[in-house]
């Protein structure tokens, strides 16, 4: 009898292997029938969290809508790496107009579908953090305020990556970028600045807001699926590590995305009509150093003389998030 040796891999620290689950409980990505909406062959860097996030999110949206999705993309890495003419990785109807108008273009597509009576077609707008929190913010806020029937997904890699890693209003404090150099008295990005877009989205009172991470596939898929059951303006903010911009190893993308959550720096939660309805508990809390150290954009914090007070400052942010969103499991 011939024997074939099979290796079993544990995928991630706390995930249950898909093959051990019933078919209907498996993730969208585990299904051979998944749509591969963002197909292979695109030109993203190795280990690109944005490519991963977009594929996870759009495939989940496709499953939740019976494959009736139109996407409107802002300028940025996702747009550039997926479509240099005459190739395209998109298996869905997809339009790119400008850097700052994805939300408005989506409003227009949604209006066209409404007037044509195509209630079944669902509209997604997507962009990077720069296209979302900075230049596209006006259009995004307008779309939220009108409660247009659009799901906006922000792929947050915490800088303008496509133009060579410049600071955006989503760049975290102390991070080195091409425009927040790791020099001077306070190297890297300044403290006390930046926008928290999920909270701003909630302030519009829109029906659904969530944060997600590429390290938590099921959670991400569940949130996209949940968003697709709702009509009106919805917002999902996904943390997507960028190996190039963060100065991290391509194989560490998932690890870093998970550490961002486990430190408390990137809380995972859902909100409806402006109120937080759930948050994902941290099962193994880790100090912020564990997350920051593998990233060259924070290397200046760990020289011969570690930047103790800066690290403490970042740790305070994480601790505040943990308190604010109730991220630790209560053991009574």
């Amino acid at each position: 009898m011939t024997m074939q040796q099979i290796k079993f891999y544990q995928t991630g620290t706390f995930t249950v292997g898909n093959r051990l689950l019933d078919a209907d409980q498996r993730s969208v990505q585990a299904n051979m029938e998944r749509t591969n909406s963002l197909n292979s062959g695109h030109r993203a860097c190795q280990g690109c969290g944005e490519a991963l996030g977009a594929r996870y999110a759009i495939d989940a949206a496709m499953r939740a809508s019976n494959n009736q999705v139109i996407a409107c993309n802002a300028t940025g890495c996702l747009e550039v790496f997926s479509t240099p003419y005459p190739e395209t990785s998109w298996q869905i109807p997809w339009i790119h107009s400008l850097f700052g108008n994805a939300a408005a273009v989506a409003t227009g597509v949604a209006a066209a579908m409404k007037v044509k009576g195509r209630k079944d077609v669902r509209i997604i707008a997507q962009g990077g953090d720069g296209g979302t929190t900075d230049i596209g913010f006006g259009c995004l806020s307008g779309m939220f305020e009108r409660n247009d029937d659009v799901l906006y997904i922000c792929y947050d890699n915490q800088a303008y990556m496509n133009t060579g890693v410049q600071r955006s209003s989503a760049t975290p404090p102390a991070a080195r970028t091409a425009t927040t150099m790791a020099i001077g008295a306070e190297p890297g990005n300044a403290f006390g600045q930046g926008k928290n877009l999920p909270l701003i989205a909630m302030a519009h009172g829109i029906p659904y807001v969530a944060t997600a991470s590429v390290a938590y596939l099921r959670d991400l898929e569940a949130k996209v699926s949940r968003a697709m059951t709702v009509r009106g303006a919805r917002y999902i903010h996904i943390l997507v590590p960028c190996p190039l911009g963060w100065g991290a190893a391509p194989h560490d993308t998932i690890k870093l995305a998970r550490l961002a959550v486990e430190t408390g720096l990137f809380p995972l939660f859902e909100a409806e009509h402006g109120e937080v309805t759930s948050s994902t508990k941290i099962r193994r809390r880790v100090p912020v150093e564990d997350y920051l150290k593998p990233q060259k954009r924070f290397a200046h914090l760990f020289g011969k003389t570690p930047a103790v007070s800066t690290l403490a400052h970042i740790q305070e942010t994480a601790d505040r998030n943990i308190r604010k969103y109730g991220l630790l499991e209560k053991h009574d």
């Binding site: 869905i92 107009s97 400008l98 700052g100 108008n101 209006a111």
Partner: protein, 414 residues
């Protein structure tokens, strides 16, 4: 149906008769009455199957229009002045994507100094964005051009701007003929887009194009406008068949057949020009005019033909290319190749300054005697300018010119 109505409202009624499916609106004087009129029709249920969206900026207005048009909806918006500049990036984008959006420009000056009155600086700033640009002479033509614009846009897959002089036309009440729904339906077939966002046939629109193909894409945009040179007169002729009147076309001449002097202008000022020409003709002067209706595409051949027998060209333009002079006249230079004549550029009516018959008459008289400078600023208050120049010479920190001149005028110094 004949009725006494405001230019803006007539435009709104004609746009509504074109059965638009998505209209996006953002307020700016002097185009507000148009979108208000349309909004009212949608809200009252008179304009059915139409989404009216109040957006947060002009940039969003045209971006919403881009999305709606790419998804196959007949789409309309309107703006003016600062609003057109605020949407500039989307103006080029809509053209690049080949989306047949129709947009009214209620022509208005651009600040600073902020000014709400009419000139052509706004639409002229977008003349090379890839849109077709039509300039209406009268309110009847403004209304009619919108019906032709949808047809033109959709046949070519290219956006069209209908430029209408702010206040002079937009806010003027007069007797206008509003067509019937049957007439418009007979002229304008339903919108069948060339390329559309459709879940059954997924396409990627707006992909990146590198040096290997970009030139060709741009050339094709130009080529399409050259085709519009043939289409615009044909659509105007068809319009005549259905609606029984002349409107549109590339340009319209007036008493130009044997004219030695040709006056060229865009928009409503042509009415005043024609009155003055009538007077001068009565006195035996060989003077005529040409109103350019289609500024993009530019009717080069027709203008070349017209000017090849003329001795003088007087261009009256409501815009200023700071640092060189005229924009329209600059474009006309291209068609003057091989023609020898005296060409005069007259910048007139900036920021709403009235262009009177008296001023035009004395201007044309000087032109007929070849006493005009190559570049003239009609009715410029030279004393006010000189005073300000003196002030600037005397004092380095002489203050803001606009405010200084206003103070002089109010104080009766001039």
């Amino acid at each position: 149906m004949l009725k006494q109505t405001e230019g803006s409202h007539a435009i709104a009624e004609c746009v509504a008769l074109c059965r638009p499916e998505v209209i996006c609106a953002y307020p700016i004087t002097p185009q507000t009455h148009i979108v208000e009129g349309l909004g009212e029709m949608v809200k009252a249920g008179d304009l059915k199957h139409c989404e009216f969206i109040n957006v947060e900026s002009e940039f969003a207005a045209l971006s919403v229009a881009i999305g709606a048009s790419a998804a196959g909806a007949r789409t309309y918006t309107a703006t003016a002045s600062q609003g057109l500049l605020f949407m500039a990036e989307a103006v080029y984008n809509a053209a690049g994507l080949g989306l047949p959006i129709v947009m009214t420009i209620g022509n208005r000056a651009i600040g600073a100094p902020i000014n709400i009155w009419n000139d052509h600086t706004d639409s002229m700033s977008m003349r090379d964005a890839g849109w077709i640009q039509l300039y209406a002479e009268t309110n009847q033509e403004a209304a009619d051009l919108h019906i032709q614009a949808f047809r033109l846009a959709e046949e070519l897959s290219m956006p069209v701007m209908v430029c209408v002089d702010g206040f002079i036309l937009t806010h003027a009440y007069e007797r206008l003929d509003i067509p019937t729904q049957e007439q418009v339906d007979a002229y304008l077939p339903p919108f069948e887009p060339r390329q559309v966002l459709d879940t059954n046939e997924p396409v990627s629109i707006g992909a990146m194009v590198g040096p290997e193909a970009f030139m060709e894409v741009r050339y094709l945009a130009h080529h399409k406008q050259m085709r519009a040179l043939e289409l615009i007169p044909r659509l105007s002729a068809e319009f005549r068949q259905v609606f029984g009147r002349d409107s549109g076309g590339l340009m319209r001449t007036y008493r130009a057949e044997d004219a030695e002097t040709i006056v060229v202008a865009l928009g409503s000022v042509n009415g005043t020009i024609k009155d003055v020409i009538d007077e001068l003709r009565d006195e035996g002067c060989a003077i005529g005019a040409a109103a350019i209706i289609s500024f993009r595409p530019f009717p080069s051949e027709a203008l070349h033909e017209l000017l090849s027998h003329a001795k003088r060209l007087v261009v009256i333009e409501k815009s200023l290319a700071v640092g060189i002079g005229g924009i329209v006249s600059h474009n006309l230079r291209m068609v003057l190749s091989g023609i020898s004549l005296h060409a005069y550029t007259v910048v007139a009516g900036l920021g709403g300054r009235a262009i009177t018959k008296a001023s035009l008459r004395s201007l044309f008289e000087r032109a007929l005697r070849d006493e005009l400078e190559p570049l003239t600023f009609l009715d410029l208050n030279q004393a006010a300018v000189n005073r300000e120049l003196e002030r600037e010479k005397a004092q380095r920190r002489s203050g803001p010119s606009a405010e200084n001149i206003l103070r002089d005028l109010a104080g009766g110094a001039l």
